[in-house]
Protein backbone atom coordinates (compact mmCIF):
# COMPACT_ATOMS: atom_id res chain seq x y z
CA UNK A 1 0.00 0.00 0.00
CA UNK A 2 2.84 2.41 0.80
CA UNK A 3 4.63 2.09 -2.51
CA UNK A 4 1.86 3.17 -4.87
CA UNK A 5 0.93 6.08 -2.61
CA UNK A 6 4.52 7.36 -2.74
CA UNK A 7 4.47 7.10 -6.52
CA UNK A 8 1.21 8.92 -6.79
CA UNK A 9 2.55 11.64 -4.56
CA UNK A 10 5.47 12.20 -6.91
CA UNK A 11 3.39 12.27 -10.04
CA UNK A 12 0.71 14.41 -8.47
CA UNK A 13 2.90 17.14 -6.93
CA UNK A 14 3.97 18.96 -10.15
CA UNK A 15 0.40 19.00 -11.36
CA UNK A 16 -0.77 20.36 -8.04
CA UNK A 17 1.91 23.04 -8.10
CA UNK A 18 0.30 24.62 -11.16
CA UNK A 19 -2.98 24.81 -9.28
CA UNK A 20 -2.68 27.68 -6.82
CA UNK A 21 -5.92 27.04 -4.96
CA UNK A 22 -5.18 23.53 -3.65
CA UNK A 23 -1.70 24.06 -2.23
CA UNK A 24 -2.68 26.29 0.67
CA UNK A 25 -0.48 25.15 3.59
CA UNK A 26 2.75 24.17 1.83
CA UNK A 27 4.11 21.62 -0.62
CA UNK A 28 3.39 17.93 -0.10
CA UNK A 29 1.09 17.64 2.91
CA UNK A 30 -2.25 18.86 1.50
CA UNK A 31 -1.73 16.82 -1.67
CA UNK A 32 -1.32 13.62 0.34
CA UNK A 33 -4.47 14.41 2.25
CA UNK A 34 -6.29 15.06 -0.98
CA UNK A 35 -5.12 11.74 -2.35
CA UNK A 36 -6.13 9.96 0.84
CA UNK A 37 -9.54 11.57 0.67
CA UNK A 38 -9.95 10.56 -2.96
CA UNK A 39 -8.98 7.01 -2.11
CA UNK A 40 -11.42 6.99 0.78
CA UNK A 41 -14.19 8.28 -1.44
CA UNK A 42 -13.51 5.58 -4.03
CA UNK A 43 -13.49 2.84 -1.42
CA UNK A 44 -16.61 4.23 0.18
CA UNK A 45 -18.35 4.16 -3.20
CA UNK A 46 -17.24 0.59 -3.83
CA UNK A 47 -18.38 -0.64 -0.43
CA UNK A 48 -21.56 1.38 -0.66
CA UNK A 49 -22.30 -0.18 -4.03
CA UNK A 50 -21.59 -3.68 -2.73
CA UNK A 51 -23.66 -3.04 0.39
CA UNK A 52 -26.66 -1.72 -1.54
CA UNK A 53 -26.42 -4.69 -3.87
CA UNK A 54 -26.40 -7.02 -0.89
CA UNK A 55 -29.54 -5.38 0.47
CA UNK A 56 -31.15 -5.79 -2.95
CA UNK A 57 -30.07 -9.44 -2.90
CA UNK A 58 -31.80 -9.91 0.47
CA UNK A 59 -34.96 -8.10 -0.63
CA UNK A 60 -35.05 -10.30 -3.72
CA UNK A 61 -35.98 -13.29 -1.56
CA UNK A 62 -39.29 -11.73 -0.48
CA UNK A 63 -41.72 -12.02 -3.40
CA UNK A 64 -44.44 -9.36 -3.74
CA UNK A 65 -47.07 -11.61 -5.27
CA UNK A 66 -47.95 -15.05 -3.98
CA UNK A 67 -49.77 -17.79 -5.81
CA UNK A 68 -51.20 -19.52 -2.78
CA UNK A 69 -54.72 -20.75 -1.91
CA UNK A 70 -57.00 -17.87 -1.00
CA UNK A 71 -57.44 -17.26 2.70
CA UNK A 72 -61.06 -16.04 2.58
CA UNK A 73 -63.69 -18.45 1.29
CA UNK A 74 -67.27 -19.57 1.77
CA UNK A 75 -68.14 -23.01 3.12
CA UNK A 76 -71.97 -23.07 2.85
CA UNK A 77 -74.80 -22.44 5.29
CA UNK A 78 -74.69 -23.37 8.99
CA UNK A 79 -77.54 -25.78 8.39
CA UNK A 80 -75.25 -27.89 6.15
CA UNK A 81 -73.29 -29.01 9.17
CA UNK A 82 -74.48 -31.55 11.71
CA UNK A 83 -73.23 -31.80 15.28
CA UNK A 84 -69.56 -32.73 15.64
CA UNK A 85 -66.46 -32.36 13.49
CA UNK A 86 -66.86 -31.97 9.72
CA UNK A 87 -63.77 -32.84 7.63
CA UNK A 88 -65.12 -32.16 4.13
CA UNK A 89 -63.02 -28.99 3.68
CA UNK A 90 -59.79 -30.38 5.14
CA UNK A 91 -58.23 -31.20 1.78
CA UNK A 92 -59.35 -28.03 0.03
CA UNK A 93 -58.98 -25.32 2.69
CA UNK A 94 -57.16 -27.02 5.59
CA UNK A 95 -59.99 -26.42 8.05
CA UNK A 96 -62.52 -28.37 10.09
CA UNK A 97 -65.97 -27.00 10.75
CA UNK A 98 -67.06 -27.93 14.26
CA UNK A 99 -70.66 -27.62 15.39
CA UNK A 100 -71.60 -27.71 19.04
CA UNK A 101 -75.13 -27.37 20.43
CA UNK A 102 -74.62 -23.69 21.17
CA UNK A 103 -72.02 -22.49 18.65
CA UNK A 104 -70.22 -23.22 15.38
CA UNK A 105 -66.50 -22.55 14.85
CA UNK A 106 -63.75 -23.37 12.38
CA UNK A 107 -60.46 -24.97 13.45
CA UNK A 108 -57.44 -24.20 11.33
CA UNK A 109 -55.96 -27.71 10.72
CA UNK A 110 -52.40 -26.93 11.72
CA UNK A 111 -50.74 -28.60 14.66
CA UNK A 112 -49.49 -25.94 17.07
CA UNK A 113 -46.30 -27.93 17.65
CA UNK A 114 -44.53 -27.74 14.28
CA UNK A 115 -47.18 -27.19 11.66
CA UNK A 116 -48.27 -30.62 10.39
CA UNK A 117 -51.90 -31.39 9.62
CA UNK A 118 -53.44 -33.68 12.28
CA UNK A 119 -55.95 -36.41 11.40
CA UNK A 120 -59.48 -36.56 12.75
CA UNK A 121 -59.93 -39.98 14.42
CA UNK A 122 -63.69 -40.49 14.45
CA UNK A 123 -63.59 -43.67 16.57
CA UNK A 124 -61.40 -42.10 19.26
CA UNK A 125 -63.14 -38.71 19.06
CA UNK A 126 -59.83 -36.84 18.81
CA UNK A 127 -57.36 -35.19 16.46
CA UNK A 128 -53.98 -36.87 16.24
CA UNK A 129 -50.89 -35.38 14.62
CA UNK A 130 -48.87 -37.94 12.64
CA UNK A 131 -45.60 -36.02 12.97
CA UNK A 132 -44.94 -36.03 16.72
CA UNK A 133 -48.12 -37.47 18.25
CA UNK A 134 -49.89 -34.40 19.60
CA UNK A 135 -53.52 -35.18 20.49
CA UNK A 136 -56.48 -32.76 20.60
CA UNK A 137 -60.07 -33.32 21.65
CA UNK A 138 -62.99 -32.53 19.38
CA UNK A 139 -62.77 -28.85 20.33
CA UNK A 140 -59.17 -28.79 19.13
CA UNK A 141 -57.83 -28.49 22.69
CA UNK A 142 -54.54 -30.31 23.24
CA UNK A 143 -54.38 -33.04 25.85
CA UNK A 144 -51.34 -35.13 24.85
CA UNK A 145 -48.05 -34.82 23.01
CA UNK A 146 -45.78 -31.82 22.54
CA UNK A 147 -48.38 -29.30 21.30
CA UNK A 148 -48.11 -26.11 23.38
CA UNK A 149 -51.69 -24.82 22.92
CA UNK A 150 -55.06 -25.69 21.35
CA UNK A 151 -55.32 -25.48 17.60
CA UNK A 152 -56.06 -21.97 16.32
CA UNK A 153 -59.53 -21.05 15.11
CA UNK A 154 -60.28 -19.08 11.96
CA UNK A 155 -62.50 -16.03 11.75
CA UNK A 156 -66.10 -16.87 10.76
CA UNK A 157 -68.88 -14.56 9.56
CA UNK A 158 -72.27 -14.89 7.94
CA UNK A 159 -72.63 -13.01 4.66
CA UNK A 160 -75.88 -11.49 3.32
CA UNK A 161 -76.97 -14.83 1.81
CA UNK A 162 -76.49 -16.64 5.12
CA UNK A 163 -73.33 -18.37 3.96
CA UNK A 164 -70.43 -18.94 6.34
CA UNK A 165 -67.39 -16.93 5.26
CA UNK A 166 -64.11 -18.19 6.73
CA UNK A 167 -60.93 -16.11 6.92
CA UNK A 168 -57.85 -18.15 7.82
CA UNK A 169 -55.78 -14.96 7.57
CA UNK A 170 -57.22 -14.01 10.96
CA UNK A 171 -56.60 -16.71 13.56
CA UNK A 172 -57.74 -16.80 17.18
CA UNK A 173 -55.25 -18.28 19.65
CA UNK A 174 -55.70 -19.68 23.14
CA UNK A 175 -52.16 -19.93 24.50
CA UNK A 176 -51.42 -20.78 28.09
CA UNK A 177 -50.65 -17.71 30.16
CA UNK A 178 -52.24 -15.38 27.61
CA UNK A 179 -55.79 -14.21 27.09
CA UNK A 180 -57.88 -16.89 25.34
CA UNK A 181 -59.36 -15.44 22.16
CA UNK A 182 -61.82 -18.24 21.50
CA UNK A 183 -64.73 -16.23 22.95
CA UNK A 184 -63.96 -13.11 20.92
CA UNK A 185 -66.58 -12.02 18.43
CA UNK A 186 -65.66 -13.51 15.04
CA UNK A 187 -64.14 -16.65 16.56
CA UNK A 188 -67.48 -18.48 16.47
CA UNK A 189 -71.07 -18.25 15.21
CA UNK A 190 -74.01 -18.46 17.54
CA UNK A 191 -76.11 -21.46 16.57
Amino acid sequence: MTEPSAKEEKTASPAAGSKPASGAGGDGQPQINTLKMRRRIIWASIWGFVGVNFLMFLRFFFPRTLFEPKSVFSVGAPADFGLGVDTRYQQLYRIWVVRKPDRLFVIYARCTHLGCTPDWKESENKFKCPCHGSGYDSDGVNFEGPAPRPMDRARVELDAQGQIVVDVGKLYKCAKGERCEFDDSGAYLQA
Binding site: L58, F61, F62, P63, L66, F67, E68, P69, L114, G115, C116, P130, C131
Partner: protein, 311 residues
Protein backbone atom coordinates in the same frame (compact mmCIF):
# COMPACT_ATOMS: atom_id res chain seq x y z
CA UNK B 1 20.66 18.93 -49.95
CA UNK B 2 21.01 16.81 -53.11
CA UNK B 3 24.42 15.47 -52.01
CA UNK B 4 23.11 14.47 -48.70
CA UNK B 5 20.26 12.67 -50.33
CA UNK B 6 22.67 10.76 -52.60
CA UNK B 7 24.85 9.72 -49.70
CA UNK B 8 21.92 8.49 -47.81
CA UNK B 9 20.66 6.64 -50.85
CA UNK B 10 23.98 4.78 -51.29
CA UNK B 11 24.12 3.91 -47.67
CA UNK B 12 20.50 2.81 -47.81
CA UNK B 13 21.13 0.58 -50.83
CA UNK B 14 23.95 -1.42 -49.19
CA UNK B 15 22.02 -1.56 -45.94
CA UNK B 16 18.98 -2.85 -47.76
CA UNK B 17 21.02 -5.59 -49.45
CA UNK B 18 22.47 -6.74 -46.13
CA UNK B 19 19.03 -6.72 -44.60
CA UNK B 20 17.57 -8.78 -47.40
CA UNK B 21 20.36 -11.34 -47.11
CA UNK B 22 19.84 -11.60 -43.39
CA UNK B 23 16.10 -12.05 -43.87
CA UNK B 24 16.65 -14.77 -46.43
CA UNK B 25 18.96 -16.60 -44.04
CA UNK B 26 16.44 -16.45 -41.21
CA UNK B 27 13.69 -17.61 -43.54
CA UNK B 28 15.79 -20.59 -44.58
CA UNK B 29 16.51 -21.49 -40.97
CA UNK B 30 12.85 -21.30 -40.09
CA UNK B 31 11.90 -23.40 -43.09
CA UNK B 32 14.41 -26.05 -41.99
CA UNK B 33 13.04 -25.97 -38.48
CA UNK B 34 9.49 -26.31 -39.68
CA UNK B 35 10.44 -29.20 -41.92
CA UNK B 36 11.99 -30.88 -38.88
CA UNK B 37 8.87 -30.20 -36.84
CA UNK B 38 6.75 -31.78 -39.55
CA UNK B 39 8.85 -34.92 -39.41
CA UNK B 40 8.86 -35.10 -35.60
CA UNK B 41 5.91 -33.05 -34.30
CA UNK B 42 6.22 -34.52 -30.80
CA UNK B 43 9.48 -32.64 -30.27
CA UNK B 44 8.04 -29.19 -30.88
CA UNK B 45 7.41 -26.77 -28.08
CA UNK B 46 3.73 -26.49 -28.99
CA UNK B 47 3.28 -30.25 -28.79
CA UNK B 48 5.12 -30.52 -25.51
CA UNK B 49 3.11 -27.74 -23.95
CA UNK B 50 -0.24 -29.28 -24.90
CA UNK B 51 0.42 -32.99 -24.46
CA UNK B 52 2.16 -34.62 -21.49
CA UNK B 53 5.59 -35.99 -22.34
CA UNK B 54 7.94 -38.33 -20.60
CA UNK B 55 10.99 -36.79 -19.01
CA UNK B 56 14.36 -38.37 -18.31
CA UNK B 57 14.53 -40.70 -15.33
CA UNK B 58 16.56 -38.38 -13.13
CA UNK B 59 15.78 -37.59 -9.47
CA UNK B 60 15.34 -33.96 -10.45
CA UNK B 61 12.75 -34.55 -13.14
CA UNK B 62 10.91 -37.00 -10.90
CA UNK B 63 10.74 -34.43 -8.11
CA UNK B 64 9.59 -31.83 -10.62
CA UNK B 65 6.97 -34.27 -11.85
CA UNK B 66 5.43 -34.32 -8.39
CA UNK B 67 5.83 -30.61 -7.72
CA UNK B 68 4.39 -29.44 -11.03
CA UNK B 69 1.51 -31.89 -11.18
CA UNK B 70 -1.56 -30.36 -9.60
CA UNK B 71 -3.04 -33.68 -8.45
CA UNK B 72 0.19 -34.94 -6.87
CA UNK B 73 0.89 -31.50 -5.49
CA UNK B 74 -2.31 -31.58 -3.42
CA UNK B 75 -0.56 -34.10 -1.19
CA UNK B 76 2.21 -32.91 1.09
CA UNK B 77 5.74 -33.95 0.13
CA UNK B 78 6.16 -35.72 3.45
CA UNK B 79 4.02 -36.39 6.49
CA UNK B 80 4.46 -37.78 9.96
CA UNK B 81 4.26 -41.57 9.74
CA UNK B 82 2.16 -41.76 12.93
CA UNK B 83 -0.39 -39.35 11.52
CA UNK B 84 -1.41 -41.65 8.69
CA UNK B 85 -2.36 -44.57 10.93
CA UNK B 86 -6.04 -45.30 10.35
CA UNK B 87 -6.48 -46.02 14.02
CA UNK B 88 -5.49 -42.41 14.60
CA UNK B 89 -7.37 -40.45 11.94
CA UNK B 90 -10.04 -42.99 10.98
CA UNK B 91 -9.67 -41.44 7.51
CA UNK B 92 -12.93 -39.61 8.15
CA UNK B 93 -12.01 -36.29 6.57
CA UNK B 94 -10.84 -37.98 3.39
CA UNK B 95 -13.90 -40.22 3.28
CA UNK B 96 -16.17 -37.20 3.74
CA UNK B 97 -14.50 -35.49 0.80
CA UNK B 98 -14.75 -38.66 -1.27
CA UNK B 99 -18.47 -38.85 -0.49
CA UNK B 100 -18.83 -35.20 -1.48
CA UNK B 101 -17.34 -36.09 -4.87
CA UNK B 102 -19.67 -39.09 -5.23
CA UNK B 103 -22.63 -36.88 -4.33
CA UNK B 104 -21.58 -34.23 -6.84
CA UNK B 105 -21.24 -36.74 -9.66
CA UNK B 106 -24.45 -38.66 -8.97
CA UNK B 107 -26.30 -35.43 -8.20
CA UNK B 108 -25.38 -33.87 -11.54
CA UNK B 109 -26.54 -37.04 -13.30
CA UNK B 110 -29.84 -37.00 -11.41
CA UNK B 111 -30.36 -33.39 -12.51
CA UNK B 112 -30.65 -34.62 -16.09
CA UNK B 113 -34.00 -36.26 -15.27
CA UNK B 114 -35.39 -34.15 -12.45
CA UNK B 115 -37.69 -31.12 -12.81
CA UNK B 116 -38.13 -29.01 -9.65
CA UNK B 117 -41.85 -28.39 -10.18
CA UNK B 118 -44.82 -29.54 -8.15
CA UNK B 119 -46.28 -31.30 -11.15
CA UNK B 120 -43.21 -33.28 -12.13
CA UNK B 121 -40.88 -33.68 -9.16
CA UNK B 122 -42.40 -36.78 -7.58
CA UNK B 123 -43.16 -38.28 -10.99
CA UNK B 124 -39.52 -37.85 -11.97
CA UNK B 125 -38.47 -39.70 -8.82
CA UNK B 126 -40.74 -42.61 -9.75
CA UNK B 127 -39.41 -42.42 -13.31
CA UNK B 128 -35.83 -42.53 -12.02
CA UNK B 129 -36.65 -45.41 -9.71
CA UNK B 130 -38.44 -47.58 -12.26
CA UNK B 131 -37.51 -46.66 -15.79
CA UNK B 132 -34.35 -44.60 -16.24
CA UNK B 133 -31.34 -46.87 -16.99
CA UNK B 134 -29.32 -47.07 -13.78
CA UNK B 135 -31.65 -44.44 -12.31
CA UNK B 136 -32.35 -46.52 -9.24
CA UNK B 137 -28.64 -47.10 -8.72
CA UNK B 138 -27.84 -43.39 -9.08
CA UNK B 139 -30.62 -42.30 -6.77
CA UNK B 140 -29.66 -44.81 -4.12
CA UNK B 141 -25.97 -43.92 -4.41
CA UNK B 142 -26.91 -40.28 -3.89
CA UNK B 143 -29.20 -41.11 -0.98
CA UNK B 144 -26.82 -43.44 0.84
CA UNK B 145 -23.77 -41.27 0.23
CA UNK B 146 -25.72 -38.38 1.73
CA UNK B 147 -26.59 -40.38 4.84
CA UNK B 148 -23.01 -41.59 5.12
CA UNK B 149 -21.54 -38.13 4.67
CA UNK B 150 -23.55 -36.82 7.62
CA UNK B 151 -22.16 -39.69 9.71
CA UNK B 152 -18.55 -39.31 8.55
CA UNK B 153 -18.56 -35.53 9.03
CA UNK B 154 -19.69 -35.98 12.63
CA UNK B 155 -17.15 -38.74 13.23
CA UNK B 156 -14.45 -36.53 11.71
CA UNK B 157 -15.37 -33.76 14.12
CA UNK B 158 -15.43 -36.26 16.98
CA UNK B 159 -11.95 -37.54 16.05
CA UNK B 160 -10.55 -34.02 15.78
CA UNK B 161 -11.99 -33.23 19.19
CA UNK B 162 -10.66 -36.41 20.81
CA UNK B 163 -7.14 -35.90 19.45
CA UNK B 164 -7.13 -32.27 20.47
CA UNK B 165 -6.48 -31.22 16.90
CA UNK B 166 -8.58 -28.09 17.37
CA UNK B 167 -5.83 -26.59 19.55
CA UNK B 168 -3.19 -24.08 18.52
CA UNK B 169 -2.30 -23.59 15.70
CA UNK B 170 -5.43 -25.22 14.29
CA UNK B 171 -8.17 -23.10 15.92
CA UNK B 172 -9.03 -21.36 12.67
CA UNK B 173 -9.34 -24.61 10.76
CA UNK B 174 -11.68 -25.94 13.44
CA UNK B 175 -13.94 -22.96 12.81
CA UNK B 176 -13.82 -23.55 9.05
CA UNK B 177 -14.72 -27.17 9.78
CA UNK B 178 -17.72 -26.14 11.87
CA UNK B 179 -18.97 -24.00 8.97
CA UNK B 180 -18.48 -26.97 6.62
CA UNK B 181 -20.46 -29.21 8.95
CA UNK B 182 -23.35 -26.74 9.03
CA UNK B 183 -23.23 -26.55 5.23
CA UNK B 184 -23.34 -30.36 5.07
CA UNK B 185 -26.44 -30.39 7.26
CA UNK B 186 -28.03 -27.68 5.11
CA UNK B 187 -27.30 -29.70 1.98
CA UNK B 188 -29.01 -32.66 3.59
CA UNK B 189 -31.98 -30.56 4.66
CA UNK B 190 -32.51 -28.90 1.27
CA UNK B 191 -32.23 -32.26 -0.47
CA UNK B 192 -34.95 -33.66 1.75
CA UNK B 193 -37.75 -31.73 0.02
CA UNK B 194 -36.68 -32.51 -3.55
CA UNK B 195 -38.45 -35.90 -3.96
CA UNK B 196 -41.64 -33.99 -3.05
CA UNK B 197 -43.03 -37.02 -1.23
CA UNK B 198 -44.98 -37.03 2.03
CA UNK B 199 -41.86 -37.64 4.11
CA UNK B 200 -39.91 -34.73 2.65
CA UNK B 201 -42.89 -32.39 2.51
CA UNK B 202 -43.74 -32.77 6.20
CA UNK B 203 -40.09 -32.77 7.22
CA UNK B 204 -39.64 -29.38 5.57
CA UNK B 205 -42.93 -28.21 7.06
CA UNK B 206 -41.63 -29.12 10.50
CA UNK B 207 -38.11 -27.79 9.85
CA UNK B 208 -39.23 -24.43 8.56
CA UNK B 209 -41.85 -24.17 11.32
CA UNK B 210 -38.91 -24.02 13.69
CA UNK B 211 -37.74 -20.95 11.77
CA UNK B 212 -40.91 -19.21 12.98
CA UNK B 213 -39.33 -19.16 16.43
CA UNK B 214 -36.12 -17.43 15.26
CA UNK B 215 -35.26 -14.56 17.61
CA UNK B 216 -35.94 -11.15 16.01
CA UNK B 217 -36.44 -12.61 12.51
CA UNK B 218 -39.30 -15.07 13.11
CA UNK B 219 -42.93 -14.11 13.65
CA UNK B 220 -43.27 -16.40 16.67
CA UNK B 221 -39.78 -15.85 18.07
CA UNK B 222 -38.62 -13.55 20.86
CA UNK B 223 -39.03 -9.89 19.85
CA UNK B 224 -40.19 -10.98 16.38
CA UNK B 225 -43.77 -9.64 16.57
CA UNK B 226 -42.51 -6.44 18.21
CA UNK B 227 -40.28 -5.88 15.17
CA UNK B 228 -43.26 -6.31 12.87
CA UNK B 229 -42.66 -9.90 11.80
CA UNK B 230 -45.66 -11.68 10.28
CA UNK B 231 -45.93 -15.00 8.40
CA UNK B 232 -45.53 -12.90 5.25
CA UNK B 233 -42.23 -11.13 5.92
CA UNK B 234 -40.15 -13.20 8.32
CA UNK B 235 -37.15 -15.46 7.78
CA UNK B 236 -39.33 -18.49 7.08
CA UNK B 237 -41.06 -16.58 4.31
CA UNK B 238 -37.67 -15.84 2.72
CA UNK B 239 -36.67 -19.49 2.95
CA UNK B 240 -39.90 -20.80 1.43
CA UNK B 241 -40.66 -17.97 -0.97
CA UNK B 242 -44.18 -17.97 0.47
CA UNK B 243 -46.15 -18.68 3.61
CA UNK B 244 -46.59 -22.39 2.85
CA UNK B 245 -44.35 -25.19 1.54
CA UNK B 246 -45.27 -24.98 -2.13
CA UNK B 247 -43.73 -24.69 -5.60
CA UNK B 248 -41.56 -21.71 -4.65
CA UNK B 249 -40.14 -23.66 -1.71
CA UNK B 250 -39.39 -26.63 -3.97
CA UNK B 251 -37.57 -24.44 -6.50
CA UNK B 252 -35.64 -22.59 -3.81
CA UNK B 253 -34.46 -25.70 -2.07
CA UNK B 254 -33.46 -27.12 -5.46
CA UNK B 255 -31.27 -24.10 -6.22
CA UNK B 256 -29.75 -23.98 -2.74
CA UNK B 257 -29.15 -27.73 -2.91
CA UNK B 258 -27.69 -27.98 -6.41
CA UNK B 259 -25.90 -24.67 -6.92
CA UNK B 260 -25.42 -22.28 -4.04
CA UNK B 261 -24.47 -24.48 -1.08
CA UNK B 262 -22.15 -26.82 -3.07
CA UNK B 263 -20.31 -23.74 -4.39
CA UNK B 264 -19.97 -22.19 -0.95
CA UNK B 265 -18.92 -25.54 0.54
CA UNK B 266 -16.28 -26.00 -2.18
CA UNK B 267 -14.69 -22.67 -1.33
CA UNK B 268 -14.62 -23.55 2.36
CA UNK B 269 -13.22 -27.00 1.56
CA UNK B 270 -10.39 -25.40 -0.39
CA UNK B 271 -9.55 -23.23 2.61
CA UNK B 272 -9.93 -26.22 4.96
CA UNK B 273 -7.48 -28.43 3.05
CA UNK B 274 -5.02 -25.61 2.53
CA UNK B 275 -5.05 -24.87 6.27
CA UNK B 276 -4.33 -28.52 7.08
CA UNK B 277 -1.10 -28.17 5.13
CA UNK B 278 -0.31 -24.70 6.45
CA UNK B 279 -0.84 -25.72 10.07
CA UNK B 280 1.66 -28.55 9.76
CA UNK B 281 -0.23 -31.41 8.15
CA UNK B 282 -2.61 -33.91 9.67
CA UNK B 283 -2.46 -33.52 13.41
CA UNK B 284 -0.13 -36.16 14.83
CA UNK B 285 -0.28 -38.11 18.06
CA UNK B 286 1.15 -36.42 21.12
CA UNK B 287 1.04 -32.77 22.10
CA UNK B 288 1.69 -30.38 19.28
CA UNK B 289 4.29 -27.84 20.33
CA UNK B 290 6.06 -25.24 18.30
CA UNK B 291 9.76 -24.75 18.82
CA UNK B 292 9.16 -21.11 19.64
CA UNK B 293 6.97 -22.18 22.54
CA UNK B 294 9.63 -24.45 23.98
CA UNK B 295 12.52 -21.99 23.87
CA UNK B 296 10.85 -19.77 26.44
CA UNK B 297 10.79 -22.56 29.02
CA UNK B 298 13.50 -22.94 31.64
CA UNK B 299 14.82 -26.08 33.29
CA UNK B 300 15.44 -29.50 31.78
CA UNK B 301 15.07 -29.67 27.99
CA UNK B 302 11.70 -31.18 27.07
CA UNK B 303 11.30 -33.54 24.17
CA UNK B 304 10.85 -31.41 21.09
CA UNK B 305 7.75 -32.39 19.19
CA UNK B 306 7.43 -30.55 15.96
CA UNK B 307 4.02 -30.25 14.35
CA UNK B 308 3.73 -33.37 12.26
CA UNK B 309 4.60 -32.85 8.63
CA UNK B 310 7.10 -30.11 9.43
CA UNK B 311 10.52 -31.70 9.62
Amino acid sequence: MADENNKQGKKGLTGLLDEAQEKARLLKERALEEAKALKEPEKTQVFRSIFRVKHDETPRSRALGVLTNVFFHLHPAKINRDAVRYSYTWGMGGISFYLFLVLTLTGVLLMFYYHPTKLQAFRDILYLEHDVPFGKLLRNMHRWAAHLMIITVWLHMFRVFLTGSYKRPREFNWCVGVVLMVLTLLLSFTGYLLPDDQLGFWAITVGTSMARATPLLGHEGPFGPQLGMTPYNDVRFALLGGSIVDSNALLRSYIWHCVAIPLIASVFMGVHFWRVRKDGGISGPGPVMLESEIKEQKGPTPVILRPSGMQ
